[in-house]
Symmetry: C2
Amino acid sequence: MKTLSENKCFGGVQGVYSHASKATGTDMTFGLFLPEGVEDGPVPLLWYLSGLTCTHENAMVKAGAQAHAALYGMAVVFPDTSPRGDGVADDEAYDLGQGAGFYVDATEAPWAPHFRMESYILNDLTDLLFSEFPLDAERQAITGHSMGGHGAITLAAKSPGRFRSVSAFAPICNPSASDWGRKQFAAYLGSPEAGTAHDATCLVRKGALDAPLLIDTGTDDQFGDLLKTEALAEALAARRAEATVRLQKGYDHSYFFVSTFMADHIAFHAEALAR
Amino acid sequence: MKTLSENKCFGGVQGVYSHASKATGTDMTFGLFLPEGVEDGPVPLLWYLSGLTCTHENAMVKAGAQAHAALYGMAVVFPDTSPRGDGVADDEAYDLGQGAGFYVDATEAPWAPHFRMESYILNDLTDLLFSEFPLDAERQAITGHSMGGHGAITLAAKSPGRFRSVSAFAPICNPSASDWGRKQFAAYLGSPEAGTAHDATCLVRKGALDAPLLIDTGTDDQFGDLLKTEALAEALAARRAEATVRLQKGYDHSYFFVSTFMADHIAFHAEALAR
């Protein structure tokens, strides 16, 4: 692991690190905020998964998470959204290839060799974080924005017991029925239908999500039709799942929206992590 | 004036606008956060002047000001740091020319035709803001980061009575004695010495600052030697000026530092603006 930068921030340290990932076969970069007092014992960890076109950096500098994580003594990790580099497949579209890993393990050419973001998050980066930093593996929570909201909900549903709470900002809720999902699942997995195993709405319908869930989505989200919030809201209510879905009047898809509700999300996770 | 974007943010609106400036002879872009409830009457205005290489956008997306401004019902304007465009002089160095206006009116070629940031801020943009938006001209405060901290203190000192409070994050404190200043004053004004009229330390020594001042600077600021905080601290103490200079242990020059202390600065200005 290599330290790229460390900046003091809200009493803690915002670091950026890189490491060789077995899952992706590439070097991967991530941001990690460690709160003040981390030396006194392991601290809980919140995962923040980012959306299309983002790197580890966008949320780290724009979402305002550190202020609130510092209040609760919580670490926050900001992984990248895909493998990157010259030997890594890519596509001209902003929503396929580098910057658009969709948090699945690709099975199809040319993506299969490197696009293994589910394994990267749940195995490689997890192993690295808990071996290198004073983090408490028993107290993990997960959140994300847009494609990262899809990642947060689906990775939590696919790893029962791992995350005590799950939240999402404007998540892609039903990608196997959306243009934000069908194309990517076809490319990475061979068919849009293969994506149902990685679709928040489908997973919730099967009762796979075992952690409390908080979702915020703006009523003026410019990508509202692609998110399909209504499908997940229906599935959650039908399953009587412990969930809150808030439609926030006038907000759009930007970090101005994300940062506005960050305090609520971190308080929600802090409550679950304190139990 | 043209609206480039408007995003709902912390109950208010973060807008980006452009307008033709007489002072610079160019189109200028600025960000403006208007808090919720602005329609009920004019609200106070905090100016945030940015540092070298920044546009109107950096602080607007990274400094975390809106969260705190929203709490106090305060507007925040984020001006650009220089004129820009094809017909505008520039230099290869990051600290001269476009992105490095230093908040003075240039008198020398090739800068004089467009580099008039003091007039732009104090006249053009001021006139536009108070005619186009429900802002209270009697309740203005000013802050800034690095070169923008220099701008905040010096523009306040040069316009007595206009700003009720002044603050700065890691300001350039004594530019006429620093490599961040001497080169620029020589280029824009003809000599480093001409910069003493635009130097926070020199202005404070003359008793020109009539508003309370708050400064935060990190002990690990990588540009600490260029800032010359010690000169301004000495001048403030010698003048018995109403000022607080805080050296913050372990912090550097980044927005991670700025965002950490933003809440304190906005609370400081809110108190002055409530009087």
